[in-house]
Structure formats: C-alpha cells, structure tokens
C-alpha cells in the first residue's frame, strides 16, 4: 500500500512538473506564436479566403467562388509576368551559380591578393538592391549612360536598353547576377574548404589533370551545395522586385514585370485586393512547391547517409 501510494505520489509529482514545464514552454513561445499567427498564418489564410470573394475596398465583397481564378487564367498580363518570372529564374539561377563556382574555385586556390579578390566578389551582396538599381540605371540610360557612351565610341547608335522589350530582361538579369553571384560563392567556398586534402593528393599521385579532377571529383562532391544554392536562388527569383520599382516599373508594356511586382501593382496602384489575393495564392503555391522540393531532397539525403 505504502509503495503504491509512494509511486502515485511520484507520478503525480512528475505529472505536475510536466504540466508546469508545458505552461512554461507555452509562455516562452507566446510572443513568437502571436506574432507569427498575426503576420504569417492569418495573412496566408485571409489571402485564400479573399481570393474567393469579389472586390471591395473595405471588407469582403460577395462570394464569387473561383471566378477570380478564372479571371486570372484569362489575364494575359498574368501569363506574361509568370513567363517573365520563369525566364528570370531560368537565366539568373544557372548564371549566378556557374559564376559563383568559378569565383569560389579561383579564390580557394593560392592566389596573390586573395582577400581583395574575395572582397570584390562579395561586396555587391551587402548593398541595398535599390542603390544597385540606381547605379545600373545609369549604365543603361539611353544616350548619356555608360553603355551607350561605349557604343558611341565604337560608332554604334544609341539604344534604349530598358525601354526595349527585347533587351530589358537581359539588362535586369545581368544586374541581378552581378549582385547575387558573390553571395552564392561563399557557400561553395565553405564546401571547398571542407574537402579532404587526401583526395587531391591521391589525384596527384594518380597523375590526374586539374580539369579532370574538378570534373570527376570536385564537382560531384559539390552537388549538395549546388542543389542548396539552386533552391535558394529560385526562391530569391520570386522575391527580387525592388529593382523594378526604380528601373522599369515592370515596363515597357510589362516586359520586365515579375509576379510579386504585379501583385504590388494590382494591390497598391489599382487597389484590386481580391485579384491581388488571387495572384498571391499563386505565388504561395509556387513557393510551397519549391519548399517541398527542398524537403524531399533533404529527406533523400538523410536516407543515403
């Protein structure tokens, strides 16, 4: 009897401690959870709900089912910004990754003035996109800008780089690659510096050439890093729109507009919240798909280890 009572008392005590720990934990989490619920989870839910209702500057309009989505699929601008976004991603991601890898390999070797070179590559990363856009805007200014001055010196006609639908995207891509490559470089650099030196020694003994070694050993070993960077770069390509506000306003004729910028325009220039919510749902779904890819990939990596 006494033993049972003692066990019960201990169990009771443990339960109380556990409950106390629980309360304690929730109190510690409270500020974070309230803020996250207010600025992440509620907005996500509200976006979905609002995409099912008609417009209205204040409050909800009438329930319209999937009409907003039908309108979106009929909206040529939506398809154009989506296409632009894919072009933007398809160009910036591989370009910045290839450059990042090149930079990392160069900086990883014994190089005179390595610190300076690394600094040069990384500096654009810490600058505000809005400042970068201002600087590059000047390069692209027709006639007066740097690019046209060079062309002028070569006897070529001036060109409105950002005003021409066929060149505007390329101009923005070059700028973004310039800004991002150095950021991705540091991940490659970290991976390269963690590679066991024995590999290199073994390759030297075997007489493997440097290019062969890079292609058959270094590059495959960097694959996880490459995947990691690719996913981050893809996510970034959906978030980077600051430059559009300054340089093109999405123009000419939406040729440089991206999905998030279009959302911004619809919401805060045309004040069509219902449609902006519908577009935001698309963006959320796209980002969720990318994140899911990331999780699947990470799971697989754990399996192989």
């Amino acid at each position: 009897m006494a033993e049972v009572a003692a066990t019960l008392a201990v169990q009771d005590g443990m339960r109380r401690t556990r409950r106390l720990t629980g309360i304690h934990a929730w109190l510690l989490l409270l500020p974070a959870l309230v803020l996250l619920a207010t600025f992440t989870h509620y907005p996500i839910g509200a976006t979905f709900v609002r995409s099912l209702f008609g417009g209205g500057r204040t409050g909800l309009g009438p329930f319209v089912g999937l009409n907003n989505y039908a309108a979106m699929l009929d909206d040529p601008v939506f398809w154009q910004v989506l296409r632009n976004n894919f072009v933007f991603a398809a160009a910036t991601v591989p370009l910045s990754i290839a450059l990042a890898l090149l930079m990392a390999v160069l900086v990883d070797g014994k190089l005179r003035g390595r610190g300076f070179v690394r600094l040069a590559f990384f500096t654009p990363t810490v600058l505000p996109m809005i400042a970068v856009a201002n600087i590059w805007l000047f390069f692209y200014t027709p006639g007066y800008g740097l690019l046209d001055q060079v062309r002028g010196a070569l006897g070529l006609a001036s060109h409105n780089w950002l005003g021409d639908p066929s060149t505007v995207m390329a101009c923005l891509i070059v700028m973004v690659v310039w800004k991002e490559a150095g950021f991705f470089m540091i991940f490659y650099l970290a991976a390269l510096q963690n590679m066991p030196p024995e590999l290199k020694e073994a390759a030297n003994v075997e007489g493997a050439g440097r290019w062969y070694f890079f292609r058959r050993v270094t590059f495959p070993l960097l694959m996880p890093t490459t995947l990691f960077i690719s996913i981050n770069a893809v996510i970034n390509s959906f978030k980077l729109v600051d430059q559009l506000v300054i340089m093109t306003k999405g123009g000419p004729n939406n040729a440089s507009s991206l999905l998030l910028y279009y959302i911004y325009e619809v919401a805060f220039s045309f004040w069509d919240t219902a449609y902006a919510s519908t577009l935001t749902v698309t963006l959320i779904v796209l980002l969720a798909a990318v994140a899911l890819t990331k999780f699947v990939y990470l799971d697989r990596r754990i399996h192989y280890q």
């Binding site: 556990r18 720990t21 629980g22 304690h24 934990a25 929730w26 510690l28 989490l29 500020p31 974070a32 959870l33 600025f39 992440t40 989870h41 907005p43 996500i44 509200a46 976006t47 160069l106 070797g109 014994k110 190089l111 005179r112 003035g113 610190g115 300076f116 070179v117 040069a120 590559f121 990384f122 500096t123 654009p124 810490v126 600058l127 505000p128 996109m129 809005i130 400042a131 000047f138 007066y144 310039w178 540091i186 991940f187 970290a190 030196p197 959906f238 978030k239 600051d242 506000v245 300054i246 998030l260 959302i263 911004y264 919240t273 902006a276 919510s277 935001t280 980002l287 969720a288 994140a291």
Partner: protein, 269 residues
C-alpha cells in the same frame, strides 16, 4: 595542399574582381566629381563634396538615416528577445505538441512576410500602425529563421553546464540568461549581421507602409529622391546612393570576416 594557381588563372581572377568592382568604383567616381565629369574619366578631374551637400540639403536625409537606424534596431532587439525565448522552449523543454508548433513556426521560412504584402498591409492598418516605424518592423519581429538558428545552438549546450547552474540555484530564466545566451554569442552575431543588412536594405514593404518623411527609411527616401520626376542631377543621385550604402559598406569592410562567416552560417541551415 593547395596548389598555387597558374599565372593565367591569377590574371583571370583579378580581371573578374576588377570587373565586379567597376559599378561601385563608378558610383564613387560620379559621387565625388562635378557633374560634367560624370562620364568623363580624367584623373585630373577635381574632387568635390558638392554632390553630397546638395543631396543632404535637397532631401531630409538626416531624418531618413534616423528612421533606418531606429527601424533596424527595433527589428533586431525584438527579434533577439522573441527568438531567444522561443528557441529555448524548443531546444530545452519537453512539452506536448512541440514538433507541431515547430512546424507551425517553420512555415515562415517558406512564405516570408515579403510576399504577404496585401494582407499584412491590412493587418498593420487594423492595428493603426500604417506609416509608422513599428508598422514596418512588426511583421519581421518573430523570425522563424532566428528561432531555428538559436534552437540549433541551444541544443548543443552541454547538460553539465545547465545542471551546475541549477545546483547553484539559478532559475530557468536565469539559466537562459547566464548559460545559454553567452554560449550562443557567435550565433547572435551571425543572425544580427544578417538581420541588420536585410532590414537596412529592405525596400518594398517599407515603400508600401510608409507615406511620410517621418517614417521612411533611407532606401525608400532614396527611391523618392531619385525618381525621374524630381529632375535631380545624376551626380547628386549617385551621392545619395553612396550615402545609403555607406554605413553597411563601411561595416562590411571593417568586419569582413564576420560578415562572410555570418552569411555562411545563416545560409547553411
């Protein structure tokens, strides 16, 4: 060990580095020279601070600086407190549903406040915080990323240290403050640098929320100042651009190693 790079590659590395710095060099050139030398690169061109003086007097840059500093500090202070408490709960306390709640937190890594501009504008409006600095800061105060980083760090704190502090009679919060926080200093520095750079540079959300000189951070102030309608001289705009970049750029040049390591630590999750 590492081979010395062949001459050709050294030259290539240097060329690429110079090419990478050119846009910045150009910005400084144009900011520190009279407007007529904006595109004429003569070494004899006179240096001047005139562009800075004009930018400084034509727009309320002192106020923008103040706003940006206030914004960055407010975000950072809030993030550190909120993330420390939450990370401690996740790393050290066992409670029912902790995994579910953690997943709930991680949603923010996937859908960042940056893309929820439409609804967050409404939320901030409901709270009556439109056009205020707290209104810009609030959506970012709870940082899933900060919670995640600190949780990882706190998990690695040896139990012996915690037990020792407990024997000495420290309370739970006392242990957090005296054992966990000091040990997590490198994580705090890494997160702090990334957060400060992010919010100093952030643009779209502050642009949406703010509407007046009293709340605009530097990035938005620069965009308003440089808008083509204003007809401001190119050299003056570049000077303003340099002013916007300068604090972060100087911090970066001074603490280069910490910056690179912080971004690396922050990126590898």
């Amino acid at each position: 060990m590492r081979d010395r790079l062949p001459m050709l590659e050294t030259v290539a590395a240097w060329c690429l580095a110079v090419l990478w710095l050119l846009p910045l060099v150009y910005a400084f050139w144009s900011a520190f020279h009279p407007a007529e030398f904006a595109t004429r690169f003569q070494l004899t061109a006179p240096l001047t601070l005139e562009n800075f003086a004009r930018a400084w007097s034509q727009a309320p840059f002192p106020r923008y600086y103040f706003n940006s500093v206030a914004l960055v500090l407010m975000v950072l202070a809030g993030q550190l407190v909120v993330a420390t408490l939450a990370a401690y709960a996740f790393a050290r306390l066992r409670f029912a549903g902790s995994n579910v709640v953690f997943a709930f937190v991680l949603v923010q890594l996937m859908i960042m406040p940056d893309v929820l501009i439409v609804e967050n504008y409404r939320v901030v409006g409901t709270l009556g915080l439109l056009d205020t600095i707290p209104g810009i800061a609030l959506p970012y105060i709870a940082s899933a990323f900060g919670i995640f980083l600190l949780r990882q760090t706190f998990k690695g704190v040896p139990n012996e240290l915690v037990d020792a502090a407990r024997v000495e009679g420290a309370s739970s919060l006392g242990i957090l403050w005296r054992v966990f926080v000091p040990l997590a200093k490198p994580t705090y520095i890494a997160f702090g640098l990334v957060s400060v750079s992010y919010h100093w540079n952030n643009f779209l959300w502050p642009l949406i929320v703010t509407n007046s000189v009293e709340s605009r951070p530097l990035t938005v102030g620069l965009a308003v100042f440089g808008a083509p309608e204003t007809g401001v001289d190119w050299s003056v705009i570049t000077a303003a651009t340099v002013m916007t970049m300068a604090p972060l750029l100087m911090a970066f040049l001074l603490f280069q190693r910490q910056f690179v390591q912080s971004f690396m630590r922050a990126g590898i999750k």
